[in-house]
Subunit: 368 residues, 2 copies
């Protein structure tokens, strides 16, 4: 009954399965390298709603519904939901969950919210508190610029170190095992979402492999005194380095034991800093490191500067790139480490530094 590993990690000894994942993305994300792999692309940034915030919430609601359908389940089968986003008082999550009517805890880790939500859902499923739990998060370029920087109409210029907040949402259904009910539904094709992209797992993939969540590492807040809101990568790199270092220590593993160590949204600037910080501690992750912020856009063509950011950045890359690679067997083991900058417009304007946090989730393909 003691699942504590090392200093700040939990190792699950019973199988916690990531049953299904969804990706609902905006127009710009659809034009990026992962565009074709998203479940759903939504051209209208307001998603038919009256304002940016309600639009973002709609992305999240849709992502939740798609993930639940893909798992072959209905809303009533989901016992607990954990969701977070970047907006003040997490209104995107609250309004999405108002529609879904699932018992709900808000979780917050800024752009690391996907890691917090998946960890919390995995802990709940593993402990026997829920047969099925939903983890979700969202972000939106326009609502984030309004929340943290300037309204779009202001036409503010962005420095090269700035990242572009991803518009979209990802959701994940976790359960103890793939039940016969789900298997039957998937075999009959009923679990399939009409119009879903290549990111969706196919019938044969569901049958031949599971993705297990083997453990998670809870982040400690790190603050190296940076205060530039246009250089989030540098603010978050110390937290990413700390969590990755601690996860590998706690799980007694080497970087090469993972096919990929995927950070959230450090971007070009933060990625270099992360590699260098870990090298100072005699850990070389350069051979297996990938940053989700650098995968979602083609920075040169799409003018996104240092890369993508926002809760949806790592969530969409997880759903559309990382999980399919695990399902297909290209990768066996991934350490997913979304990173968050714990600022608000108020703290930034009041001259506070920007603390960072990163939460790690150990994902592993299991064949049965």
């Amino acid at each position: 009954m003691d699942y504590m590993a090392g200093k700040q990690s939990i190792r699950f000894k019973k199988p916690v399965c990531l049953l299904a994942a969804s990706s609902v993305a905006g127009k710009k994300e659809g034009e990026g390298p992962l565009g074709e792999k998203m479940d759903l692309l939504v051209e209208d940034p307001m998603y038919g709603q009256a304002n940016w915030e309600a639009g973002e919430s709609q992305f999240l609601r849709e992502a939740g519904e798609i993930a639940i359908r893909k798992a072959g389940l209905s809303m009533e089968d989901i016992r607990l939901a954990f969701s977070g986003d970047l907006l003040g008082q997490m209104i995107s999550s609250s309004f999405a969950m108002r529609s879904l009517q699932i018992p709900f805890y808000g979780v917050y880790g800024a752009c690391a919210s996907s890691g917090a939500a998946i960890s919390a859902a995995a802990m709940a499923v593993h402990a026997g508190y829920a047969d099925h739990a939903l983890a979700a998060c969202s972000s939106h370029f326009a609502s984030a610029e309004k929340e943290f920087r300037f309204p779009l109409g202001y036409g503010n210029q962005r420095p090269k170190s700035a990242t572009w907040t991803v518009t979209g949402a990802g959701a994940y259904v976790l359960g103890t095992v793939i039940s016969d009910k789900n298997r039957r539904k998937n075999e009959a094709g009923k679990g399939r979402v009409p119009g879903a992209g290549n990111g969706e797992k196919t019938k044969s993939e569901t049958e031949k492999s599971y993705i297990l969540i083997k453990g998670c590492t809870t982040g400690v807040i790190k603050d190296y005194g940076m205060s530039d809101v246009y250089n989030m990568g540098a603010c978050m790199a110390p937290a990413a380095a700390d969590t990755i270092y601690q996860a590998l220590q706690d799980f007694q593993m080497e970087p090469e034991d993972f096919d990929c160590i995927a950070t959230g949204d450090l971007g070009e600037v933060g990625k270099d800093l992360l590699i260098s910080l870990l090298a100072d501690n005699h850990m070389d992750i350069s051979g297996v490191h990938m940053d989700c912020g650098m995968e979602i856009y083609d920075s040169d063509k799409q003018d996104t500067h240092a890369g993508g950011s926002g809760c949806a950045c790592s969530a969409l890359v997880l759903s559309a790139l990382i999980l399919p690679k695990l399902w297909r067997g290209e990768w066996k083991r991934v350490l997913f480490v979304p990173t968050g900058a714990l600022l608000s417009q108020v703290t930034a304007n009041e001259g506070e530094t920007i603390p960072g946090i990163a939460h790690a989730v150990w994902l592993e393909r299991s064949q049965q």
Copy 2:
């Protein structure tokens, strides 16, 4: 390994103990009926900091430190922390946790955040993910008015249905059992906080009784279409009614099985609505109901209109009134149901309705 009870509750079958609680409150709260029972009263609303937000964060940090000391533990003994507050991007929690350096997940439920944090901490301890976990939350009159309504300098008038956001923070240390180490420390008086008020449990109380967390009920968001930001009680009452009804169904108990069913901060208006909503469903809780929002201030003398609100309202009443009654044996069993209004200034200004949520925690005195 299956702890699911009914539709949306979890029943803990192994003992999860609430080892220590703290209450750090502001000047106005100190002048209220529970003032003498707080651990620490802070006259300066900025707590020596440069702004309201940093001041609120300092209340939270202090509450965390006091709770950990009262449990006879040190910071390194706490493996996981769950904390929430009302500020955008939960900066009070983030900046407090930056100081405490405990592995940390942000949890959000507006003024129900104490319920979310205690539930999450209890789940983690019960499952064997942490020997000791910290749950905490804060709120602050000035930072909340600035965040949700108008800056204080504006001198806005408040209608009678408005509540007063409580300035302060509460923190709770949860563990599997009171260890011999803690017991020795408490016996030697080392766990005692200098200058702490009557809210602190005394040596003899620690020796003779435990407070167990027997279960929790996760709230579902309820929205009856209210949109008056000066009448939060009415917005939250439907959620409180739903969670209380479901908790009693799930745990197969009657209202009278509890010595007290304590809602968070419905205030006078919301309390009447709650009683009436439950009566419509043939449930009478009027004999055992208490609202924390109506306990913390003397409304007539202190000009607080409908009562207190904010995350710290239910948290301070829990620490200073409810837990001491359990420790002293005046009460045996309490259902603690903090309530939250899931709005932001943006959704309110954009004309959205105000959804509510309530999370329940079943507290019980155990004598060993």
